[in-house]
């Protein structure tokens, strides 16, 4: 779990770098940020995240924060949630947003793709049962539109319904009226977003230099 000894010793950084693919400089920057967020504690808790001012107006803040405490995102084949995370977990979650390298085989690309989509899938699949049910999907859309007031809430439902129907028709094709589509499995999710080029979109730029002083 969380409480990893996060002394900024070099050898440990190297260990983390191998694990997550970040460069040592990036790890250094992220570590600094980690301590800033946790007020120099060893672990981060949810309310630390909630203190980030820029995050406050993000409509899907809750899901983003939750993703950091979701064991499925720690690459350890574990399930469930935790209450606090250490720097290593923080880094592992962040590593899902690492840009892909220039030279990749098709296989590697596919792996990166699956990994990133899995992250998204986990964010939607809140009850951890391997499918995104209609309720869960509705919740996602509602959150997305949560900044637009009652107006959004009303429409969110029909949008989610329409989207779900689309999934069902893409992945199942023909269905009898009495058949029931339980929800989006990960395979369907892959198929659904096969055109989405997630590997080139779900990336952010991790800085090598320290720029945290600029931000709150």
């Amino acid at each position: 779990m969380g409480a990893l000894q996060s002394l900024p010793g070099q050898p440990e950084y190297i260990d983390l770098a191998e694990k997550t693919g970040f460069s040592l400089e990036q790890i250094g920057v992220l570590h600094k940020r980690f301590k800033q967020l946790s007020h120099n504690e060893e672990t981060l808790r949810r309310d630390h995240f909630n203190e980030i001012p820029d995050l406050a107006c993000n409509p899907i803040r809750a899901q983003i924060v939750e993703a950091f405490f979701d064991k499925r995102n720690f690459r350890q084949n574990d399930e469930g949630t935790v209450d606090e995370i250490g720097f290593e977990e923080f880094l592992v979650v962040m590593s899902h947003f690492r840009p892909p390298s220039l030279h990749m085989t098709e296989e590697q690309r596919e792996n990166v793709r699956r990994e990133k989509l899995r992250f998204l899938f986990n964010m939607h699949d809140t009850d951890n049962d391997g499918t995104i049910t209609l309720e869960e999907y509705r919740h996602v859309v509602e959150e997305l539109l949560s900044r637009s007031g009652a107006l959004g809430k009303e429409t969110a439902k029909s949008i989610a319904d329409a989207a779900m129907l689309e999934v069902a028709s893409i992945s199942m094709g023909h269905m009898e009226p009495d058949e029931f589509y339980e929800g989006i499995t990960f395979e369907h999710f892959l198929k659904l977003l096969s055109e989405f080029e997630i590997e080139s979109r779900m990336n952010i730029r991790f800085l090598n230099m320290d720029a945290t002083t600029l931000c709150k």
């Binding site: 992220l30 940020r33 967020l37 980030i52 820029d54 107006c57 993000n58 409509p59 899907i60 899901q63 983003i64 962040m94 947003f97 840009p99 892909p100 390298s101 220039l102 998204l120 209609l134 996602v140 997305l144 539109l145 637009s148 107006l151 959004g152 009303e154 429409t155 439902k157 029909s158 949008i159 319904d161 329409a162 989207a163 779900m164 129907l165 689309e166 069902a168 028709s169 199942m172 094709g173 023909h174 269905m175 009898e176 009226p177 029931f180 589509y181 659904l192 977003l193 055109e195 989405f196 997630i198 080139s200 779900m202 952010i204 730029r205 800085l207 720029a211 945290t212 600029l214 931000c215």
Partner: protein
């Protein structure tokens, strides 16, 4: 580029005639639109013809005094200019038509090549006929009339998202790349000219500055040529936007370099100060152009806020403001191309939210038509001008130029990518680099700029022109023809099917927010952070000012959903899918398949009342649903020749023709309805309720919808609890908005919110209903009313008159 245009008028070019021609042409452009500006082009003909015609006219006039009233008089010169304009346009259009009738030919040879060949033939014919070839590709005509439509089309339909995401790379190629090309080509050419001993007569006279000027003319990638070739090879969006964006943005560099070198070519030296001023000038030209464009764009958006009562002239504002932006930028020697791009890109989102759907279609078609004709004409004229042009062929110069162009391009792209890749998240691969380098086509802008050169200052003008034409031909023919096989050979990623499903839209939005959030957690302000800030600012202030009504508050996702729903609804009407047998519908996944199954007992009791054959009802719903869910094609922004068939438009266009069909349709549905409901008109059959809900604008059913909303909106049959009304079921409204009940009523609440008072006309009948429903059974009156309303609806659907106006307020399609 007025200075380009104004500075030089070719020999044998009558002054007054072209002036008149241009005047006429401006008027034509503004008023007619479709007639493209060939006044200047054909004007030399005028002076030519005029001489011979004058006698005729005089004769006619003379004879008229003696002879009886002339039954038939010939007076060609009166109509000559517009007549010849029309002839050229007709030629261009027919050529385009012809090429598309021969599919095999156009699959091998790009259209631009064919058009140049046609131009060559036409030029040759004119020459054979002994006439003087008109200087068709005159710079004034080119820059003031032919170029703007193409650029506006490109700017208006510019895919903003990929453009902004790659802006850094594009700017790098456009600015640094073009500079490098210009100086490299110019410099090496000068070197070659100096060391060439075998050909002393011509090349030794070349100074450095003309060489650099030539380099700056020849180095700029041409948007017209790029568009023409790239939209045929369907390359992926990233590469397309990189090459195309470069060709658009390098205009500022070219303008500045051109003016700089032209200015000092006479003087002979350029000091460091001049260079510095050049850099400042570049910033002024580029940013000034963007600023002018943005101002006009905002003006256009603001104007469109108030056009709801004069829909007819809406499209005009878009065109006129854009053209004004272009001209205004040109007044100050700013980059007109950048002004146009900025204007189109800035105004589009706001204008689209304000104008009616029909106006939107008009704008789209007009832009596509104009740019398509312009482009065709440009290529034909290029051919004609080649035949016409005074040529001075110099083997050394031409060969060296062509080779240098290729070499400079390759070195430039590879070198720049090396630098750029250090900063890019998604790196450019070797294949990408190759395509970018290979896609650097030159075109008519270079030719027009070369044409503008002053023979006195540049004695080598003819040689320059010949070299420019050779390079253009080389790039357009050789590279243009081989790029397609090469793309296939290298297996470069192609453009994907431009279908955009609701799921992808959801995830696009989701990802945006997610990445912004992660950036915030990482604690540095990156790309996504600023984009988010900008979006918020846009939503909070700009949209409120520029978009009328409630639509300004509509989130993107909802807007997208509405568009999609609308499109599918119209398509359903168009295809008459509502009455086709269920077996004809391929996809059979219905809402029931995805609902969490929880059949509440209450519902069963309620359903017992109308005695609905459940299977039948399910079928109907299935049809509606599956139609709703089919994913749709979006308009490809790049394609200027074939407008991707937009079902929605055709739907509207065809509605008039399909009136008959609709009536039949309606009958069938009524039959169905009779079948579904108990004949003695028990008021509360779900079908009927749905019909009313679907009709949407009747405020009196709000309670019903509310209740329905409370039940999760999940069960279409659960909303039969509602105030009784004694109406004859008029299901025909389903035709107007045949979405499923679930989505419709929510959507309709929107509409109602949008147009609190806009419900005059056909809906009045419906508004009356609550009163009548409560005032007791008044069957005949109700009948009348519904019939009346039905008529109104039909009128509304089939007649583009004012009563259809409120249809236009609905979300339009991309």
């Amino acid at each position: 580029m007025p200075s380009r245009t104004g500075s030089h008028s070719p020999a044998g070019f009558g002054r007054s005639a072209p002036e008149r021609g241009l005047l006429l042409l401006t008027v034509l452009v503004l008023l007619e639109g479709s007639v493209l500006p060939l006044g200047a082009a054909s004007s030399p003909d005028i002076s030519h013809h005029a001489n011979s015609d004058k006698h005729q006219v005089a004769d006619v006039g003379h004879n008229a005094t003696k002879k009886p009233f002339p039954v038939l008089a010939v007076e060609y010169d009166r109509v000559q200019i517009p007549f010849e304009i029309s002839l050229w346009v007709l030629l261009a259009s027919l050529m385009k038509l012809g090429f598309h009738l021969i599919p095999r030919l156009s699959s091998i040879v790009p259209e631009s090549c064919l058009l140049i060949v046609v131009g060559l033939l036409v030029g040759g014919l004119i020459k054979l006929a002994g006439e003087e070839v008109p200087p068709v590709l005159d710079s004034r005509l080119f820059f003031l009339c032919l170029l703007p439509p193409i650029i506006l089309d490109a700017g208006y339909f510019l895919p903003i998202r990929p453009f902004m995401e790659n802006l850094g790379t594009i700017l790098m190629f456009a600015v640094v790349g073009t500079l490098w090309n210009a100086f490299f080509i110019g410099g090496v050419l000068y070197g070659v000219a100096q060391i060439q001993p075998a050909n002393p007569s011509d090349l030794h006279q070349l100074d450095l500055l003309p060489c650099l000027l030539f380099g700056s003319i020849i180095s700029a990638v041409d948007p017209v040529a790029v568009l023409a070739v790239f939209e045929e090879i369907h390359i992926n969006e990233l590469l397309h936007i990189l090459v195309f964006g470069e060709s658009l943005l390098n205009d500022a560099v070219t303008v500045v370099l051109y003016h700089l070198f032209e200015e000092y070519a006479g003087v002979g030296t350029v000091t460091v100060l001049d260079g510095l001023l050049g850099v400042i000038s570049f910033l002024v030209v580029a940013l000034g152009g963007v600023l002018v464009g943005a101002i006009y764009g905002i003006l256009a958006a603001f104007t469109s806020r108030f056009t709801s009562h004069t829909r007819v002239i809406e499209p005009l504002f878009v065109f006129v403001y854009s053209y004004m932006a272009y001209l205004s930028a040109e007044i100050f020697h700013l980059s007109g191309i950048m002004a146009l791009i900025a204007c189109g890109a800035v105004m589009r989102p706001y204008v689209e939210a304000n104008i009616s759907h029909k106006s939107h279609t008009t704008i789209k078609y007009f832009l596509k038509m104009w740019s398509s004709v312009s482009e065709t004409l440009i290529f034909i004229f290029l051919g004609v001008a080649t035949v016409d042009g005074p040529h001075a062929w110099n083997w050394t110069f031409v060969t060296v130029t062509v080779i240098l162009c290729l070499v400079a391009r390759v070195i430039g792209v590879v070198g720049l990518t090396y630098v750029i890749n250090k900063f890019r998240i998604v790196k450019l691969t070797t294949k990408d680099q190759f395509i970018i380098a290979y896609g650097g086509l030159r075109g008519a802008i270079a030719f027009s700029l070369g044409f503008l050169l002053n023979q006195d200052h540049f004695p080598m003008r003819k040689m320059f022109l010949t070299a420019i034409i050779t390079v253009i031909f080389f790039t357009v023919f050789v590279q243009g023809m081989t790029i397609k096989p090469l793309v296939e050979l290298l297996a470069v990623k192609k453009k994907q099917e431009a279908k955009r499903s609701i799921n992808e839209e959801i995830h696009t939005q989701f990802l945006d927010h997610l990445l912004t959030g992660i950036e915030d957690i990482c604690g540095h302000y990156g790309h996504h952070h600023w984009k988010d800030k900008l979006n918020r600012f846009n939503k909070k202030y700009v949209k409120k000012c520029l978009i009328a009504g409630e639509r300004s508050k509509e989130p993107q996702l909802i807007a997208f959903y509405h568009k999609m729903e609308m499109k599918q609804a119209i398509e359903l009407v168009e295809s008459g899918g509502g009455v086709k047998l269920p077996s004809a519908v391929p996809s059979t996944v219905s809402m029931q398949n995805i609902q969490p199954k929880k059949p509440p007992p209450v519902k069963a009791a309620e359903r017992a009342l109308p005695q609905l054959p459940k299977g039948r009802e399910e079928e109907i719903r299935k049809i509606l649903r599956s139609n709703l869910q089919r994913t749709r094609q979006r308009l490809r922004s790049y394609n200027r020749h074939t407008l991707v068939a937009d079902p929605y438009e055709d739907g509207f266009g065809d509605l008039l023709l399909k009136k008959q069909k609709m009536i039949e349709l309606e009958k069938k549905i009524k039959e169905m309805n009779n079948y579904l409901t108990v004949p003695a008109a028990p008021p509360d059959s779900p079908t009927m309720c749905r019909a009313r809900l679907a009709s949407g604008r009747d405020t009196d059913f709000k309670p019903a919808q509310r209740q329905k909303g409370n039940k999760n909106g999940s069960d279409p049959q659960a909303y039969s609890v509602k105030p009784t009304s004694d109406r004859v079921p008029t299901i025909q409204v389903d035709l107007a908005s045949p979405q499923s009940p679930d989505s419709v009523n929510l959507l309709d609440e929107f509409r109602r919110a949008e147009q609190p008072r806009g419900e005059a006309g056909p809906d009045q009948g419906l508004m009356m209903k609550p009163a009548s429903a409560q005032s007791g059974p008044n069957k005949s009156r109700e009948d009348d009313e519904s019939r009346d309303q039905q008529q109104k609806l039909m009128r509304c659907l089939s007649d583009p008159g004012p009563s259809a106006d409120e249809d236009e307020d609905e979300p339009f399609l991309p």
